[in-house]
C-alpha cells in the first residue's frame, strides 16, 4: 500500500509555520532561560516571530496575484489570506509591545519568588493563537476551518484565564470556554449537515455541488448554513451571539482583551466573508438577509447596552459588538464593494480597538483598579499623548472624520446602498447617532471633569513602579503605531482600497 501525500507549498504556509515555530521557542524559554531574562527573551522571540510573519505575508501578497489552493485544496494561498495575515501579525506585534510592560498579575502581586513565572507561556500562547488565526483566514475546507478555529480558541481560553490570581480572569476564561465551545459545536454541527447534503468539505466543492444538484433550498443545507452562521457569529461577537463578550472582555487581562477584540474579529470576519461567497453563492439571499438582521441586532444591542455602562472595558466591549454590526453590513452584501468595505474597515478598526484597550491598560496599571468613567477623570490632561490618542480612537469608532473609521463607515453604507438596502443605511446612521453618546462620554470623562472629581488611588502606582510615574515607552510605541494607522488610513484611502480590491479579486463574485 502506498500512501499518497499531497504536494505541500511550504512557502504558502510560511507565515503560519513561522508563528507556530516562534511559539515553540517562546515556550522553551520557560524552561531554558533564567527567570531574570525570561521576559526579555520570550518577548524578543515574539517580536521576531511577528515581524517575520509580516515580512512573509507581504511577500506572499506580492507573489500570489493568482490565488489558488495549496496542500491538496485545504488552504488558500491568495491575497485575501495574505492581507488578513499582515493585519493579524501587525496587531500581534503591537500586543507584544504592550505585553512586555503590562503582562498581567506577575507585576502586581510583587512576590519576587513567583515574578515572571509564566511570562514565556503567555507569549507562546499569543503566538500560537496568532498562528491559528493566520491559518483560519486561509481555510479552504470545513475541516481546516474547524481545526484552526479550535486551535486559536483554545489558546485564547487560556490567555483569558492567565491572570489566575484574579477571580475575574478565571471567570472570563471559563465563560469563554463554555460559550466558545458551544459556538464551536454549533459550527461543527452545521458543517456536518452541509457535508451530509453535498458530500463535499471544500468551499468551492460545496458551491459546485449545491449548484449542480439543485439543493439550494434543501433542509440540510439551509439548516447547516444557519448553524454555521451562528457558530461564526460567536467568534465575531455579533448579537445575538454576544453574551460572553462584555464579561470576557472585562474579566480578561486588558492586554488579552486588546488582542482578542481586534485580531479575533479580523480573522472571523474575513473567513466568514470568504466562506459565504465561496461555498454558498447560491444561497446569498439567505445568508445575506441573515447577516443583515444580525448586523441590525448587533447595532441595536451593542449601542443601547453601552449607554448605561460605567466600566470603560465594558463600554468598549459593547462598542466592539456594535462595530461588528457595521462590518457585517459590508459582509451581508456579499458584493465586491462589500468586500472592499469590510477589508478597509478592518484596518482602522483593528488599530483603534487595540489602541483603546492599550490605553485602558495604561490607566488600569496607574490606578490598580478597574477603569470606569469616573476614575478616568483628568486622564487626558495628565497623559496628553494617550489622551489625544484615545480621543482619536473613539471618535474614529463614532465615524467622525478623525480617522479611517469615517471612510470605513462611508464604504459600508455605500455597499449597503449599492445592494439596494437603503433601510440598512438608515439603521447604520441611527446606530451611529446613538453610539455618539457613549463615545463622547469617554472624551468627556477624560477632559471635562474638574480635577477634584479625580479619585486617584494613592498607593496604586507605588506597588508597581516604586513611586515613580510608570515609564511605558513600549506602550507608547504601540499606541503611537495604532494612532498612525487609524489616522493615516483617512488619507491613504486609495492605496488601502487598492490593496483590498486586489485581495478581494480572488473571491468568486
Amino acid at each position: 500500500m502506498s500512501l499518497n501525500t499531497p504536494h505541500i507549498d511550504w512557502f504558502g504556509l510560511s507565515p503560519v509555520l513561522t508563528l507556530i515555530g516562534a511559539s515553540f521557542f517562546a515556550l522553551l524559554c520557560a524552561v531554558l532561560v533564567p527567570r531574570a531574562l525570561r521576559r526579555v527573551a520570550s518577548a524578543s522571540i515574539s517580536v521576531v516571530g511577528f515581524a517575520a510573519g509580516i515580512v512573509l505575508a507581504v511577500w506572499l501578497y506580492v507573489d500570489s496575484a493568482n490565488g489558488h489552493t495549496i496542500a491538496a485544496g485545504a488552504f488558500y494561498r491568495d491575497r485575501w489570506t495574505a492581507l488578513g495575515q499582515i493585519i493579524l501579525c501587525a496587531v500581534g506585534l503591537a500586543t507584544t509591545l504592550l505585553a512586555v510592560e503590562h503582562l498581567p498579575g506577575w507585576g502586581r502581586d510583587a512576590d519576587p519568588g513567583r515574578r515572571d513565572d509564566h511570562v514565556s507561556e503567555f507569549f507562546a500562547l499569543l503566538l500560537a493563537s496568532a498562528a491559528g488565526m493566520a491559518f483560519f483566514v486561509g481555510a479552504a475546507n470545513l475541516m481546516v476551518l474547524f481545526l484552526s478555529l479550535e486551535w486559536f480558541s483554545i489558546a485564547l481560553y487560556v490567555m483569558c484565564a492567565i491572570d489566575y490570581d484574579l477571580e475575574g480572569s478565571l471567570e472570563a476564561g471559563l465563560k469563554y470556554l463554555v460559550v466558545g465551545s458551544f459556538g464551536a459545536a454549533t459550527l461543527l454541527f452545521g458543517s456536518a449537515l452541509v457535508y451530509g447534503a453535498t458530500g463535499k468539505i471544500s468551499f468551492s466543492g460545496i458551491a459546485t455541488a449545491i449548484g449542480s444538484e439543485g439543493v439550494t433550498s434543501d433542509a440540510f443545507v439551509v439548516t447547516g448554513i444557519a448553524l454555521i452562521v451562528a457558530g461564526l457569529g460567536f467568534k465575531m461577537s455579533a448579537a445575538p451571539f454576544h453574551m460572553w463578550t462584555p464579561d470576557v472582555y472585562e474579566g480578561a487581562p486588558t492586554t488579552v482583551t486588546a488582542w482578542m477584540s481586534s485580531a479575533t474579529k479580523v480573522a472571523a470576519l474575513l473567513l466568514t466573508f470568504r466562506l459565504m461567497t465561496t461555498a454558498f453563492p447560491h444561497n446569498q439571499h439567505l445568508w445575506g438577509w441573515a447577516f443583515a438582521i444580525i448586523a441590525t441586532i448587533s447595532l441595536a444591542i451593542g449601542n443601547f447596552a453601552a449607554l448605561v455602562q460605567r466600566n470603560v472595558k465594558r463600554i468598549l466591549a459593547y462598542s466592539a459588538i456594535a462595530q461588528a454590526g457595521f462590518m457585517l453590513i459590508g459582509l451581508s452584501t456579499g458584493s465586491p464593494l462589500g468586500a472592499r468595505a469590510l477589508m478597509y474597515y478592518l484596518i482602522p478598526y483593528s488599530a483603534a480597538a487595540f489602541g483603546s484597550f492599550a490605553i485602558v491598560a495604561a490607566r488600569e496599571r496607574e490606578l490598580g483598579v478597574p477603569v470606569t468613567l469616573d476614575n478616568l477623570a483628568g486622564f487626558g490632561w495628565e497623559r496628553p499623548f494617550l489622551g489625544v490618542a484615545m480621543w482619536f480612537f473613539v471618535f474614529g469608532f463614532a465615524g467622525l472624520p478623525l480617522g479611517g473609521g469615517f471612510v470605513g463607515k462611508f464604504y459600508v453604507f455605500a455597499a449597503a446602498y449599492d445592494h439596494g438596502w437603503v433601510w440598512l443605511v438608515i439603521v447604520g446612521v441611527l446606530a451611529t447617532l446613538v453610539s455618539l453618546y457613549y463615545y463622547l462620554a469617554i472624551v468627556r470623562a477624560m477632559y471635562m471633569r474638574p480635577g477634584a472629581e479625580l479619585q486617584l488611588h494613592p498607593d496604586a502606582g507605588v506597588a508597581v513602579t516604586g513611586g515613580a510615574p510608570a515609564r511605558e515607552s513600549l506602550l507608547h510605541v504601540a499606541v503611537g503605531a495604532a494612532f498612525v494607522v487609524s489616522f493615516g488610513s483617512l488619507f491613504a484611502v486609495e492605496p488601502l482600497i487598492d490593496l483590498a480590491q486586489h485581495a478581494a479579486s480572488t473571491l468568486p463574485f
Partner: protein, 484 residues
C-alpha cells in the same frame, strides 16, 4: 506660489499649525503668539486670494483636485467661487479676532486651546472651499470636534448639557446628510460638486436640508442654540454664531438649492415659512431674553431666518442680499459676542438686571457697542441695512407678504438691540458695575475695532460683496447652471 495653492494653504496651514502647537513644548506666551501669528497669516493669505480672484469670470477658480479614492468617485477637490471667497474671508477674520481674544484673556491649557482653535479654522475654511460632497461632509463634521471640546472644557457651569445637546442635534442632521450623500453620489457615479448632476429626489433634498437647518439654525431646529451660545466661552460663541451658522446657510446655497432645483421649488413655501418663523420667533425671544448673550443668540436665530428667506426667495436680489447679509451678520454677531465677553469679564455677569450705566466713564466700550448695535439694527446706510434691503426686495418679488414679515422682523430687531444697548450702557448703574470695571484695554480694542472697521467699510461699499458674489451672471442663472 500658484493661485490654486492658496486654496489648499488656507485649509491646511491652520491644521498643520494645530498639530505643531500640540507637539511643540512651547511656553504659554509663545503658543498664543504662534497661534495668533498663524491666524493673521491666514488673513494675509486670504487677502492674496481675494486679490487674485477674478470676479469678472464665472465658474470655479483656484481649484485643485487630487484623487482620494477613485473607485467611488471621491476626490480631494477644492476651489472657490465669488461668494465662497467672502465666506472664507469672514472665517479667517473672525477666527483671528477670536484667537486674539483667547490670547488676551489668557485661556488655561494653552496648547490644547489654541490647537483646537486653529483646527476649527482649517475645518471651517475647508467647508467653504471643498467641491466634493464627501470632503465637504468631512470638514462639516470636523468643525464639530473642536467645538465640542472648546465648549466642554472652557465653557460655563452648564457646559455638559450644552455640549451634549449641541452634538446630538447637529450629528442627527449630519448623519442623515451622510445617508443622502451616499445615495446621491452612488446614483450620480461621482461625489464631485461641480460635475455632479442635479437631482429631483425630494428625500435627498430633505436629507441635506435637515443638516443645514439644524446648523443654521431655523425654527424649530434651534433647541441646541441658547444653551450652546450661553455656555460657550464668548469667543467660541462668536465663532459659532458668526461663522459656523453660516456654514449651514452656505450648504443651502451650494448644495440644496443648486443640486435640487425641483425639490427646492416644491418645498420653497415650507422653507420660507420656517425662515419667517425663525425671524419673528427669534426676534421675539431676543426681545424677552434676560441677558446680553441671550439677546445675541436669539438675534442670530432671527438673522439665520432672514438669510434663508433671501436664499429661498430664488431671485437675483435675494441671493445677492443673502451673501452680503451672511458676511455682515457674521461680523456683527462676532463683535457682539466679544463685547459680551468683555462686559462679563468686568461684571462677572451678562444679566441685564445686574448691569447698566456702563457708558459713563467708558467711552470706548460705549462707542463700540453703540456702533455695532446701530449697524445690527439695520440703520439706513449700514451694511446690515443693505443686506436686509436686498433680501426684502428679493423676497418681495416672490410674494409681497414674505417682505411684510421680513420688515416686521427688522422692526423687532430695532427693539431688541435698543433694549440691549440701553440695558448695558444706560439706565441706572447696575449692582455689578463697579468703578474698577475699566474701559476697553488696548488689547481688546485691537480685536474689536478691526471687526467694526470692516463693518463700516462694508457699509460704505456693500456692492463690494453683493456685486462680486455671482458675477458676471445673474445669481439665479449662476445657481441654475450649478455655478459652472
Amino acid at each position: 506660489m500658484s493661485a490654486s495653492g492658496l486654496t489648499s494653504i488656507l485649509i491646511w496651514l491652520p491644521i498643520a499649525g494645530a498639530f505643531g502647537i500640540w507637539l511643540l513644548p512651547l511656553s504659554r506666551y509663545a503658543t498664543g503668539s504662534l497661534a495668533l501669528l498663524l491666524s493673521l497669516a491666514e488673513v494675509g493669505f486670504w487677502i492674496e486670494q481675494a486679490t487674485r480672484f477674478d470676479f469678472s469670470r464665472s465658474g470655479l477658480q483656484m481649484s485643485e483636485q487630487a484623487n482620494w479614492f477613485g473607485d467611488l468617485g471621491v476626490s480631494y477637490h477644492v476651489g472657490v467661487y465669488g461668494f465662497s471667497v467672502w465666506l472664507v474671508g469672514l472665517t479667517v477674520v473672525v477666527m483671528a479676532a477670536c484667537i486674539g481674544y483667547g490670547f488676551w484673556v489668557g485661556r488655561d491649557r494653552t496648547r490644547a486651546y489654541f490647537g483646537l482653535m486653529l483646527l476649527l479654522t482649517g475645518a471651517t475654511v475647508g467647508v467653504f472651499e471643498s467641491q466634493d460632497l464627501l470632503l465637504f461632509y468631512a470638514f462639516f463634521e470636523a468643525m464639530l470636534i473642536p467645538l465640542y471640546v472648546l465648549i466642554g472644557v472652557w465653557g460655563g457651569a452648564r457646559r455638559m448639557e450644552a455640549t451634549i445637546k449641541f452634538v446630538i442635534y447637529t450629528m442627527a442632521g449630519s448623519l442623515i446628510m451622510l445617508a443622502a450623500i451616499v445615495s446621491y453620489g452612488l446614483k450620480a457615479g461621482t461625489f464631485d460638486l461641480v460635475d455632479g448632476p442635479t437631482s429631483a429626489s425630494r428625500w435627498l433634498f430633505l436629507g441635506f436640508m435637515l443638516a443645514f437647518v439644524i446648523k443654521a439654525p431655523l425654527f424649530p431646529f434651534h433647541g441646541w442654540l441658547p444653551d450652546a451660545y450661553r455656555e460657550a466661552p464668548p469667543e467660541v460663541a462668536a465663532v459659532l454664531s458668526g461663522v459656523i451658522a453660516k456654514a449651514g446657510l452656505y450648504g443651502m446655497l451650494r448644495i440644496a438649492i443648486t443640486k435640487f432645483p425641483d425639490p427646492t421649488s416644491f418645498y420653497r413655501t415650507t422653507v420660507l415659512a420656517l425662515a419667517a418663523a425663525a425671524l419673528v420667533y427669534g426676534s421675539l425671544l431676543a426681545f424677552r431674553a434676560p441677558d446680553f448673550r441671550g439677546v445675541v443668540a436669539y438675534s442670530s436665530l432671527a438673522q439665520s431666518g432672514l438669510i434663508a428667506l433671501g436664499l429661498f426667495a430664488g431671485t437675483d436680489l435675494g441671493f445677492d442680499g443673502a451673501v452680503l447679509q451672511m458676511v455682515a451678520h457674521g461680523l456683527v454677531s462676532a463683535s457682539l459676542f466679544l463685547l459680551a465677553g468683555v462686559v462679563e469679564r468686568r461684571t462677572t455677569t451678562g444679566e441685564f438686571r445686574l448691569l447698566g450705566g456702563m457708558a459713563r466713564g467708558r467711552p470706548a466700550l460705549a462707542t463700540l457697542l453703540m456702533t455695532v448695535g446701530v449697524i445690527s439694527l439695520a440703520v439706513p446706510g449700514s451694511s446690515m441695512f443693505a443686506g436686509e434691503f436686498l433680501i426684502l426686495a428679493g423676497v418681495f418679488q416672490r410674494a409681497w407678504f414674505w417682505a411684510v414679515i421680513g420688515a416686521a422682523g427688522i422692526l423687532l430687531a430695532a427693539m431688541y438691540m435698543l433694549r440691549l444697548i440701553s440695558a448695558v450702557l444706560h439706565e441706572a448703574r447696575g449692582s455689578t458695575v463697579t468703578d474698577e470695571a475699566l474701559d476697553l484695554r488696548p488689547g481688546e480694542l485691537a480685536l474689536i475695532v478691526p471687526l467694526v472697521g470692516v463693518l463700516l467699510a462694508l457699509s460704505v461699499w456693500p456692492a463690494g460683496i453683493s456685486h462680486h458674489s455671482f458675477t458676471p451672471d445673474s445669481p439665479t442663472a449662476a445657481v441654475r447652471t450649478g455655478f459652472k
